[in-house]
Structures are given as structure tokens and as C-alpha cells.
Symmetry: C2
Subunit: 349 residues, 2 copies
């Protein structure tokens, strides 16, 4: 009898346990579905190429652009190429607080990754470059970039390589004088428009719920529900608006900033633009420390915590910061195979 | 009759022509055979890997070494990696007269290519590095190289990356404390020992006579018969001996050298070593201007002409210089596919 009663009790317990498990699972699935739906409203998967009407991507342009991306012989001291501050091996950023260019001149701000960068409202932290093409062109004469005195000097150097002359002609077929800095910019821009890194988050957005881990999903929900996604949204999880850094609290009281940067005010001279920066793209953020416009913070969880404090006026708990960081790791994408190879550059003939 | 006579005369002429052609062809073939035999005595094809008893190449070591080759976060200013002065895109050299390292310090001499370099008698122009491993290690604290104050600082930085710790453990399995600069050097050295670029000249040496063009064969003969191959011989077409630069004439009277470099004298303090340098490897020389220890000459034909003048006391004609240069282009090799890809480097965790 005793053993029979235990058997009945055991069966009941098992049933109750299975019921809870079922309810728990379907509740979990509902939560996942809700998170996915919310995410699909806020974000969207990456395109194959970040197209531009002004500069349609062709294989010829992008192929030449890849070579020019590595070309350092068109910088004043011969050491600076696009790849110097945007090495592929470090996911298109350079690991420095502030980028170092020609003659070791230090740039005013941190070099953002070149991946998934071409579809932003503008380039550079303060939006003083209208497009990746504009950025590429202006870098040539930027002092802490390539440091060349005149655009003509760049063109003259490029014309010294027969192979480049041929490749420019092929990439810009209607052009009588194809070797120009404008076409340099278009070629580099076309290459950069192919620098797209699809990630587990893209698979998730396409409906593959298991692409994110449980913690990443929790982090995503926190990211959406605490306000991070208010600015970091869209296909690129950022890059679509300007925002004051320090809406609630002065940013430099929380970062280790060495000096106060007035941000976009330098561009517009509009008082309202003081301390305003472009909201950075968060794709591959795990792989591109240090963080913020001045590279003042080394680790992701600290950066997340500071953002909560100065942008949202929230004390993000260490658990939340960890969850959000785990979600951000799901934004680490795969670099296209072709981009992982180095081009061979011409020698003078 | 006239037409018959013409026909006979025509036939005779054809026969005579064919005889000449045959003699000419077999003479040409004989010359080719003789050149090939002479070349096979002076040179030999590249091995697959430049092996070392002290540092056997393993996939684990070479794979880690490839990552470390690109690692710039172990330099004082965060901008110097092996790849900075030896970019693959420029065939392992940097295109500068003199390499520029940490904090833009200029190196005393031109950066030689890292390809086919590991089997030389020593490294650097003046032989002050015993091996590629020694070169890799000493670069870390070299001022115009990585510029780190102490080896321990490099080790500390490397230990900051979990992925590196794991990869060092795997590459040096018996080692209790694998993350050391000695193992850094072994890993980088192992990678560099795989940097072998088989060229048309290797195919030729293996008996494939058509691998060189007619002009290249002519250039090869001139190269062998005017004395160039007296020093530039062996598998690497150089790299096996020291030699005074300017045996017959003072080199700086012919190059555009800005100052006189006493060469290996700086290492040995032996008067006989004044202006003595290691004979450079000529593989890929077409792709690695500018030339000489100080990068004082931009083009290959000029360099060849100067070598004739100062080393051999010969006035090499412009035709000979062109032929030799064409031969030297047959030393341009194929970079292994794996070497053409960029490694992804760890971020701090």
C-alpha cells in the first residue's frame, strides 16, 4: 500500500512537473516571439551591399577600391593607407584611443570601424564628412590622415603606376581622364559599400530564433526596454542620427576623457550642437574597443553602464550590463571572404 | 624554263632556309640547354618551407605567428606590427627608402622583403640579427621598430588576450609558461619560414625551359657571365654571404645616398668590414623598390647598372641592364594563398 501510494503520488508529481515545464516552455516561446517581433520593428537585417545612387557599386570599382584601400604610397610620409586606421584584422578599427596618421599626427577622435559604415547619415563622429566617398577624398589632404599637400599630387603619384591607370580606365569607362581623386573616392567608396558583416542578429531578425542565446535574447530585451534602442536602432543599430553625449549627465564626469570635446558644434557653430555626436553603429562593437569618440573606455560593460548613466539617467545593474554586452556580441558578423584577402599592389614600371 | 628554274631555285632556297632554321633552332636549343645547366649549378629551386632545426615549423606555431605578424597592440604607440614594414600587398617590403617604426622613428636602413628571407646567413643588411626568430624578438624593443621598453611588457600585453594564451599553449604544448617573447619569436619565425614564393625561374631550374622568355634567358646568361651570380647565387639568389658594397668604386659616388653607411663595421668593429653588407636576396626584387641598403635608387635597371660599376668595374650597357632586369622579373613568385588572407585578431575579454 505504501509503495502503491508513493507510486500514485510520484505519477501526480511528474504530471504537475510536466505541466509546469509545458507552461514554462510556451511562456518562454511567447516571450521569444514577442522579443523577435519588437526587434523586427526596431531593426532590420543587413543588405548585401550598401548601395548608393551617386556611386553604384561595380566589381571594377570595388576591386580597384580594395587596392587603393591598402595603398600607402599616396600618403605624404608613405606609411598611411585606409587600412592603417581600419585594419581588417581588427574588424576595421585600429585599437587606438585616437587614430595616428601621417608623420604620427594624432587624430582628434577615435577611428570608427569601416565595416557597415557606408549607410550612415554621415561619416566621422561629428558628421563632417557627407559620405564614405567624401571621407576617402578628404582624408588624402587631411593632416593627421594621408597629409598630402594637394589632390594633384595624389593623382600624379597614381599616374606613376601603369596598372592603376589601366584599372581606373576600366572602372570609369566613359571618363577621358579617369585618374582623379574623385574617382579614387568613388572606387574606395564602392569597396567600402561591400564591407557588410552579417551576424547572428541578422539570422534572428530573419526569424531564426535560435541564432541568439538565451542570455543574448535577455540582453536584447533589456537593450530595447531600457531605451538603448531609442538611438541605436535600424539596420546598423546606430548611425542614423546625431545625439548629445550626456543628455542627463555630463559625459566627461563618467568617462576617462582627457579633455572636453564639443562635438558637432565645431561643424555647425550652433549652441544646440555642443557635445553632440553621431550615434555610432554598434555592429561588431565587441571587436572594436576602445569606446566613445575619444576611445576613453576600454571595455564594453563599462561603456554600457556609462551610456545608461549619461544618456538615460539609469543605473544599469552589472547583470543588465552583462546581458546587454552579450546581446552586442551577437552583432559580431562575418567578414566577406574576398575582404579577408590582401590585394597585390603594382610596382612602378 | 624560267619558271622551272625559279621553282628549283625556290626549292633550293627553301631547303637552305630550313637548314639554317634547323641549325639555328638546335643551336638555340643548345644555348638554352647550356644556360639551364649553368643555372642549375649556380641556383636551385625553392623548398616548400625554410626549415630550421632550432624552430621546426608546425601549423600551430605558424598559425599563431601569422596573427602575431599583424599584431600592432604590442608596440609602444600601438601602430607597429611586423606587417607594417613588411606588408604582403607590397611583396613583404614597404616601398620606403628607410622603414618608419614606433613614434615615426626612421630606421637606419631599408626594410628588406620578408619573403624567402628566413634561410639567409643572417638577417638585416649588416647581419646584426642571427635569424628571423632573433629579428622578430629584437624588433620588440628596437626603438625604430616596436619600441617597447621591456620584453615583460610585451608578454603582459599578450597575456591580456585569452585567445593568445590558448594559442600559445597549443603551439608550445610542453611549455609551463608559454607566453614569452622567445615563443613569440618562434611563432613569428615559423610563419616567416613558410613565406616562400615559387617563380618562373624555379620552374626553369626544374627543367621547364619555356618558363623564361627569350629575353629573360638572355638576361640570365648575362647575369651569370658578367659576374652578378658571383654573389647572387644559391636557392635565394643572394643572402648567403657578406660583401663590400663598392669593391671597385665607392658606392656613394654612384647612388644618391644621403650619407655614408659603414655597414657591418658597426657590428664587428673590424676595419675590413667597412662598407660591407649582406648580399641581398633578389627574389621578388622587381616588386620591392627602392633599392640598396638605403633605398637610394628607385628603378631596377639603374640599380643593375650601378652594381656593374661599383662591384664588377663593368660598364653594363643599357641593353644588358634591360635583359638582366627582365631576368630578375622571372624571380617574381607566387605568394601562398593562405598568406594572402588576413588573420582576425582577438579583442580583450
Amino acid at each position: 500500500m505504501i509503495s502503491g501510494g508513493m507510486r500514485i503520488a510520484g505519477t501526480t508529481l511528474t504530471l504537475v512537473f510536466l505541466m509546469f515545464l509545458f507552461v514554462g516552455l510556451s511562456f518562454g516561446a511567447d516571450v521569444d516571439q514577442a522579443a523577435l517581433k519588437q526587434a523586427q520593428q526596431l531593426f532590420s537585417p543587413l543588405p548585401k551591399v550598401m548601395e548608393s545612387e551617386q556611386n553604384p557599386v561595380t566589381p571594377e570599382k570595388a576591386g580597384l577600391g580594395k587596392m587603393l584601400f591598402y595603398e600607402m604610397r599616396i600618403s605624404m610620409d608613405g606609411t598611411v593607407s585606409c587600412a592603417k586606421c581600419h585594419p581588417i584584422s581588427l574588424y576595421g578599427a585600429d585599437g587606438l584611443r585616437k587614430a595616428i596618421g601621417n608623420h604620427c599626427e594624432v587624430n582628434p577622435r577615435n577611428a570608427p570601424t569601416v565595416f557597415n559604415a557606408a549607410a550612415q547619415i554621415s561619416e566621422h563622429w561629428i558628421g563632417n564628412r557627407t559620405s564614405v566617398e567624401d571621407q576617402a577624398k578628404q582624408s588624402l589632404t587631411g593632416h593627421p590622415a594621408f597629409g598630402m599637400a594637394k589632390y594633384e599630387d595624389v593623382e600624379k603619384r597614381l599616374k606613376g603606376y601603369k596598372e592603376y591607370v589601366a584599372l581606373f580606365s576600366r572602372a570609369f569607362p566613359g571618363d577621358m581622364n579617369p585618374v582623379t581623386v574623385e574617382n579614387f573616392a568613388k572606387a574606395v567608396g564602392a569597396f567600402e559599400r561591400t564591407l557588410v558583416t552579417p551576424s547572428p542578429f541578422d539570422s534572428f531578425l530573419k526569424g531564426e530564433e535560435k541564432a541568439l542565446t538565451a542570455v543574448q535574447k535577455k540582453g536584447l530585451e533589456t537593450f530595447m526596454n531600457t531605451g538603448c534602442a531609442g538611438c541605436h536602432s535600424g539596420t546598423y543599430v546606430g548611425g542614423q542620427m546625431y545625439q548629445k553625449f550626456g543628455i542627463v549627465n555630463l559625459y566627461w564626469k563618467h568617462t576617462k576623457s582627457e579633455k572636453i570635446d564639443e562635438g558637432r558644434y565645431a561643424v555647425t557653430k550652433n549652441e544646440a550642437d555642443k557635445y553632440v555626436f553621431k550615434v555610432p553603429v554598434l555592429r561588431n562593437v565587441e571587436k572594436t574597443p576602445p569606446y566613445f569618440h575619444d576611445g576613453s573606455v576600454d571595455d564594453l560593460e563599462t561603456a554600457v553602464t556609462i551610456m545608461g548613466k549619461v544618456q538615460l539617467g539609469r543605473d544599469i545593474s552589472s547583470e543588465q550590463a552583462r546581458d546587454i554586452s552579450e546581446f552586442l556580441k551577437a552583432l559580431t558578423g562575418e567578414i566577406p571572404a574576398d575582404v579577408m584577402t590582401v590585394p597585390l599592389l603594382p610596382s612602378i614600371e
